[in-house]
């Protein structure tokens, strides 16, 4: 039995509501916050032990525990539209229906590549995807720089993205689906070990553009659709923003400490959050990248971040915009961040 401790801190002037879990020696690798799960906000996280836990922010209890992939560890976890997607080291990708407190497997298929690069899910962004009902999952392939595309519903591999002419990309490190405009096709933005940022056309299976961001690998990226820029980060001491339309460097956001492992832009497009190696969560305003906060709670580097949209259904989280952060110190923090500014 892993001891669980829960406390609430109200920090000075900052109305942060922190729920933190002490999970013994196990690492929290990833966290995803969902505002409409059940009657309360729920927070999903996976541990080193391979368990998926659903943490109810209302009752502050572990609501559910899943052995999603047996004893194998979980590589990736994502919650979308009432379903939980998990990728295990056993080579399986599973889709769980989490409706009404259940956890039933809706779909399950195997993938070939296993690496620490997180998979990416197309969240119904493309009209074509919505029309055909095809939801794509991008996972690293067998080759280092290969990205395989799977249809989530059928489990079939529908494509492979690999640069035939240039093999100096290195290992794929991070991916994100994006759609430049509502009518445009689905694109995949991928960061590589060589520091390259590649934009792939999913429909044609072709490389649209490639940016060289430097010598450092890209660990995480975030697509800013409103500005048409991509924010990338790695082991360096800055975040870099890139204009994808002309392939040029846009701006550089300095960091006090080096190393960023997670980047996220809030759903309303107003905040940019970075989970840093020094255990801090740094917040910027998305428009001018003005530094807003440096949240110091974790004692070790951050693993992942995720924003939750405000939920009208969840009484506990009404109007709140939560940010969940998972750290290597085994703790998961949930922050109420700039929720009362929008009137």
């Amino acid at each position: 039995m892993i001891p669980i401790r829960c406390s609430i801190f109200f920090l000075n002037r900052i109305q942060y509501l922190i729920h933190f879990l002490f999970l013994g020696a196990s690492f929290v690798f990833e966290a995803t916050v969902q505002g409409t799960y059940g009657q309360n906000c729920a927070c999903f996280f996976r541990c080193e032990s391979g368990q998926v836990r659903v943490w109810d922010l209302g009752s502050r209890r572990v609501q559910q525990e899943l052995k999603a992939h047996g004893d194998k560890t979980i590589l990736w976890l994502h919650f979308y539209d009432g379903s939980l997607f998990s990728q295990g080291r056993d080579g399986w990708v599973r889709r769980w229906s989490m409706e009404e407190g259940r956890a039933d497997i809706c779909a399950s298929f195997t993938v070939e590549g296993l690496s620490f690069c997180k998979a990416a899910l197309s969240k119904g962004m493309s009209d074509e995807v919505e029309e055909t009902g095809c939801q794509l999952l991008a996972v690293p392939g067998k080759e280092m720089d290969e990205v395989c595309l799977y249809d989530v519903a059928s489990g079939h591999q529908v494509g492979t993205l690999k640069s035939a002419a240039d093999s100096s990309l290195g290992m794929v490190m991070c991916m994100q689906f994006l759609q430049i405009s509502p009518g445009a096709g689905l694109l995949l933005l991928a960061g590589y070990e060589s520091g390259s940022l590649c934009l792939w056309d999913i429909r044609m299976g072709q490389l649209l553009s490639r940016l060289s961001t430097g010598q450092d690998p890209i660990f995480c990226l975030a697509w800013d659709g409103l500005k048409g820029t991509c924010v990338s980060a790695g082991p360096g001491e800055s975040l870099e923003t890139w204009k994808l339309n002309n392939g040029k460097h846009d701006s550089s956001i300095p960091l006090p400490q080096h190393g960023v492992s997670a980047l996220k832009i809030r759903g309303d497009g107003r905040l940019l959050a970075a989970g840093c190696w020094d255990g801090r969560i740094r917040i910027w305003s998305r428009h001018h990248y003005r530094p807003l906060a440096s949240l110091a709670f974790h004692r070790q580097g951050l693993c992942d971040l995720d924003f939750a949209d405000p939920s009208p259904r969840a009484a506990h989280c009404t109007g709140r915009r939560l940010l969940a952060a998972a750290s290597r110190d085994g703790q998961l923090s949930v922050w109420d961040l700039y929720s009362d500014k929008r009137r």
Partner: protein, 713 residues
Amino acid sequence: MTSRHHRSFADVITSVVDRPSPLRGIFINVLFLQPDHVPPVLFESLLSRLCSLPDLTANSLAGRPPPVSLEPAAYFLSLGLAIAHVASVGIHPIPAFIVSLLGKASTLGHSTQVLTPLLSLSIPGLFETLPDRWAGPVVLGLLQLGPRPAQLALLFGGLLERSAKVNFVRSLLSHSLILRRPLSSNVLGSLFPYLARPSGQGPLLQKALKELCSAWATNQTANLASYELQASLARAFVFGLALLAPSCRPGLVVEFLNAASRGAALRLDSANAALRRLGLAVAAHTARTLSPEVVPSPEFDFFDGPEGQEMDKWAKLGQRWLDHGDDWDGEEPGGEMKSTVTCSKELVAIPDISIANSEACISNQVPEEEVATTTQTNFDKLNKNPDKIADSEILDSDDEEFEAYDLSDDVPGESGPPKPHYLRACLERLRSEDPLVAASALCAAPGLLRGEQGVAKELAVEILKCLLYLEEHGWPGTFWDVRKEAMVAAVIANPGPAAEFLSAQVYASNYNMQQRFDALDTLSTVALQLASLPGPKTDRAMLESTRVTAEDEGDEGPERWQDVVRRRVESKTRYFGTRGRENVNVHPKTDFKPIIYLFGYLFIFLFQFLTSTITLASRHTSVISSIASDLLSFAWTLRKHPAAAARRPVFLAAVSSAAVAPSGVDWIVDGPDALDVTSWLEEASMEEPDAEARELATQGLSLWRSRIAQQLC
């Protein structure tokens, strides 16, 4: 057709009109479309009968069968046109009928359709009999058409004289018009110049401004009203203030300035940046308008903002109305009035979203054969997407609304867990098994011990326990220096119990040699630091003497603590030579008591312990040298102390320093020469009155002579 025939025909027609039938619709259509063919008497009679039709329309709107041929939207317009035609042929419409019609049309929201043709008639006193219950909607509808002030005065006639002015302003202006919905520019441009007319309505403008002013400065308006409504209030107030006659202004300066200042203060805490600027802009314009020579016009940066520019334009517009009176048609020479009366959103600069230039969407590092041409199309679509630009507009203000939190602790070079801010939290974290947490607490401990003196006195011993057990594993920096600093600060916080505890730990069995020497080193340092602290009784005297000495000697540098102590001792013993040491009446309780107290513990354990472990301590040469040097320095400084209780540990210190000092090392740092020490001990061994001290001096003399002999050899 005679008049009698007209009457009978009118009866027939009106009977037709009264009945809801298809024939009524046809007849009315013909009547309105070709009014020239209808006799005036018949027309008047028909109109009087038609007066009841709005009720039918209203009933039909409420769920009854709709009118046969007349649409409600066109019905009032047709009535208005018919009334205008009747007036044009020389028949004066019945004011009661028009007022009734206006009231019903206003209730249904169609007053403008009736008023549009009526406005051109300019019938004097048309609204004079307007009932109060319809005054708000009718006047608002009329003002929305933007009549000229003279025209408005003609239509109103004696309305204001009939109504109580204060009630009119309060109920009509404040409650009905301004405070419930944002005023359009037409309403402002008509109403306020009308109220500012010199022909007797001047006080009404003052009352209106007072109402606006009180509403502007209320907490409810500032916090609960929407931005559009507050912007409308601000525009009305600034515009009305500019229209106010200069002769009326002096009596209102204090009231309006206070209200404007309060309004600005109430909005300073708003999360909406535009609202904050708006409050400041109104305050600045109020000050500038009312008394530019008395109250210096504040120069704020927000004058460059859209709110400040808009207020400026409204103030200039009011000033032009005031200068030209009714002769001015409200048009700017350059056509600026159109832009003046636009809402504030148009003045907000649209951010530049430069996602165009899609030619170079492909990096030059990409192989050309891999690059698809669809990228340009995609980015062109992005550039043409209006939703993106609209979102970006919103984000412009959001960026300012987010208040940045304190980022002072987020500086380069500092990493790991945060430092504790309180001593109890520091103590808790010192017990943590995480080396990073303990390290951060250790770094913060000295400052906290010095800052929280009350808590530090209570927790000094507990903190010393933690510090003694703290180990170097996982420590990122200079562990020993920081820990020694923390331990010294802990002992200084509560010297008695802390020194007793630390001295006892030297003999405890649960410490290694390093920890024991750390304890001794800490005690030595504490003793020196406490000796340098000025006593409470002699602070001023010591400082003065220090200053005088420094001035006399021309030495501007800081004085050493040894000199200060020596001078103090000499000042207390300046009668030694005349009255004898035995007869000196010096109270043994001196400011050195904490030092003596410390040394009482320190030297007893030091001498006994170090002499027995001197061989084991050979690998800690630097520590022993430091301790010996400090002991000797302190003994030399206190060698002339009048109290025997103080001189005993002084001689003990001299003995200890000679005993523990490593041989072959130049360990005396910043202290007396060995020959001087020997001379002092030789003199003391003969002249010291206290027997115990004399014995210690004799022991020290032998030890020092042997050390000198070793050095000479």
